[in-house]
């Protein structure tokens, strides 16, 4: 059996969330992604079932290299209603893990976007202890925040203080500065459990893809490749 199929088959999320589908289509009917993209969780479930049962590595590679697996929003609305206990949203999680760990994510437009997510919330976890750090969410990257958020950013310490929060200050409280000893523990967890390795893999394959695409690549949010993956949508 191929290594990729072996990995997929042994992922606990596949073992727990992939059963024979009866094609009722309920998951597709209630899926927000299916109402927006050309995406069908019923079809995805059947496809993965077939790939594993036939050990079709070529088809798996094609799936992991394409946009299709990146359309789901992981809202998990599909979990509630499936009469066969399938969870297409969790199957997607396993596929996306494999796509990144194998480097195939870099072959699709939607997959390449993982660089942006790694360089924002991924790195904020290690640097601040939070997935989201408000003062990094400027209106250039997130214009929908609106003028009120700009006012918050301009006066962030006072606005937070008014609400009893401790923006990047010592001690407990909202948006406190997480102590260095706790950030060190987080880093060690990421090192031991494969979190850092995934970050490195995303960087490595993104750099190679940037070279293939002839785009400037560095470690910042300002390089050509980063801006491209963050904003480019060929299906507009």
């Amino acid at each position: 059996m191929s290594e990729l199929i072996e990995h997929l088959k042994n992922d606990i999320r596949i073992r727990e969330s992939l059963n024979a589908c009866i094609h009722c289509g309920t998951c597709t009917a209630i899926c927000p992604a299916a109402s927006f993209y050309d995406y069908d969780p019923r079809e995805l479930t059947a496809q993965v079932h077939e790939i594993i049962s036939r050990q079709d590595e070529d088809k798996l590679k094609e799936l992991l290299s394409g946009d299709y697996i990146w359309y789901c929003g992981e809202c998990m609305s599909c979990k509630t209603r499936c009469p066969k206990d399938n969870v297409p949203g969790v199957i997607i999680e396993a596929l996306r893990s494999l796509s990144q760990d194998s480097g195939l994510f870099a072959e699709s437009e939607k997959g390449r976007q993982q660089l942006m997510i790694k360089r924002s919330i991924g790195e904020w976890i290690l640097n601040y202890g939070y997935c989201v750090v408000g003062d990094h969410l400027n209106l250039d990257l997130f214009p929908e925040q609106g003028p009120n958020w700009q006012w918050v950013l301009d006066n962030i310490e006072l606005v937070f203080e008014k609400q009893g929060a401790h923006f990047m200050k010592e001690g407990s409280g909202a948006m406190r500065k997480v102590p260095q000893q706790d950030l060190d523990e987080l880093y060690e967890i990421f090192k031991v459990t494969g979190g850092l390795k995934r970050f490195e893999t995303i960087e490595k394959f993104s750099e190679t893809k940037a070279q293939q695409m002839g785009m400037e690549f560095d470690e910042t949010h300002d390089c050509e490749y980063f801006k491209h993956v963050y904003t480019h949508n060929s299906k507009k």
């Binding site: 606990i12 727990e16 927000p32 992604a33 927006f36 993209y37 789901c72 929003g73 992981e74 809202c75 998990m76 509630t80 999680e93 893990s97 990144q100 976007q113 993982q114 942006m116 997510i117 790694k118 919330i121 991924g122 976890i125 939070y130 997935c131 989201v132 408000g134 990257l141 929908e144 925040q145 003028p147 009120n148 958020w149 700009q150 006012w151 301009d154 006066n155 006072l158 606005v159 937070f160 203080e161 008014k162 609400q163 009893g164 929060a165 001690g171 409280g173 909202a174 997480v178 706790d182 950030l183 523990e185 987080l186 967890i189 090192k191 979190g195 995934r198 970050f199 995303i202 904003t231």
Partner: protein
Amino acid sequence: MELTGKQKIWEKYQKEIPSDSYYYARSCIRQNFWPGSENTFIKILREELGKDIKDEAHHTTCTGIAYHSDVVPLETTMTVVARQFSLMSESGYEHFVPSCITSFGLYTEILETWHEHPEIEQTIRNFLKESTGRTFEKPKFLIHPSDVIYSLRYEILKKARYRLINIETGRPLQCVEHIGCHYAKMFPDAGVGGAEFPHVLAGMVEAWGGEVIDYPERRSCCGFGFRQYLVQANRGYSIANTKRKFESMEPYKPDLIVTNCPGCPYFLDRWQYVISEMEGKIYGGDGYGIPALTYEELAGLVLGYNPWELGLQMHQVSVEPLLRKMGFLYDPADKYVVGNQIIQDRPDHPDVLKVL
């Protein structure tokens, strides 16, 4: 007593919510966008109701947003969650209360996985020991803060200074409630009322005098979709799904939206602004939007807390029209006063959406 008949049927929709001694884990999104909500939750518990809640500095993100955006492996997330449990155990608590619905869903999923697969729990214990030297006990109860407020809604009512009633008409305010997908769609037994009859927010609204709107897209996603919002190229997914909810609720003329998940009010607030700029469309009355509140903010208003200490100035959609409907006495100027200082700066106004 053995439950039979209808009592037995309804049993699975109930949730046991411990009445005291909570270990609080803050939410990445809530503390950034609605920091006053987290402080309000603690204030209500400690100062109004005399409860014990631990709020300490050493916990971190659970990595939930990164996990559901797929940049963090499952084993890493499980081990970070195990560390959170270790901090809870170390503090002598057994009731874990994560402030975020994404966290709540993830913790539920992880505990369920460990229950079904003890060998995975053991692997994670080994990872935690190796990386931090820590051990942990699993929580006796995993509860969302809204579960706690729901269980105390009549205690809060006893201290209420305002009701969810329009003082001009005497009629109940019309409320949209949005419980968030990861609260009970993944593990229905984990939520009050399950996925079929979610009552956690509806119970608060009804107890405090409001009326819940049952509109067609009531249970649809707010539109977050994790990577579908985080990456600018994908945001059409997010706004399109949120817009579908607005279009569906609009005919019922909601006075407010109350939300469970910290992310949902962000999308239900910000996308109103964007839709107004893109299409000139406004869903609330008189040119204002529909205020989208957290349940802590709603509880705080009912208790008569200062709206600006609750953090209602953080919303792009102005909340003042709602305050007026409730007959809420507030000082507009206090929005910009912090201790002895005054914020001189004022937010710019959007082109279309009216704000105060």
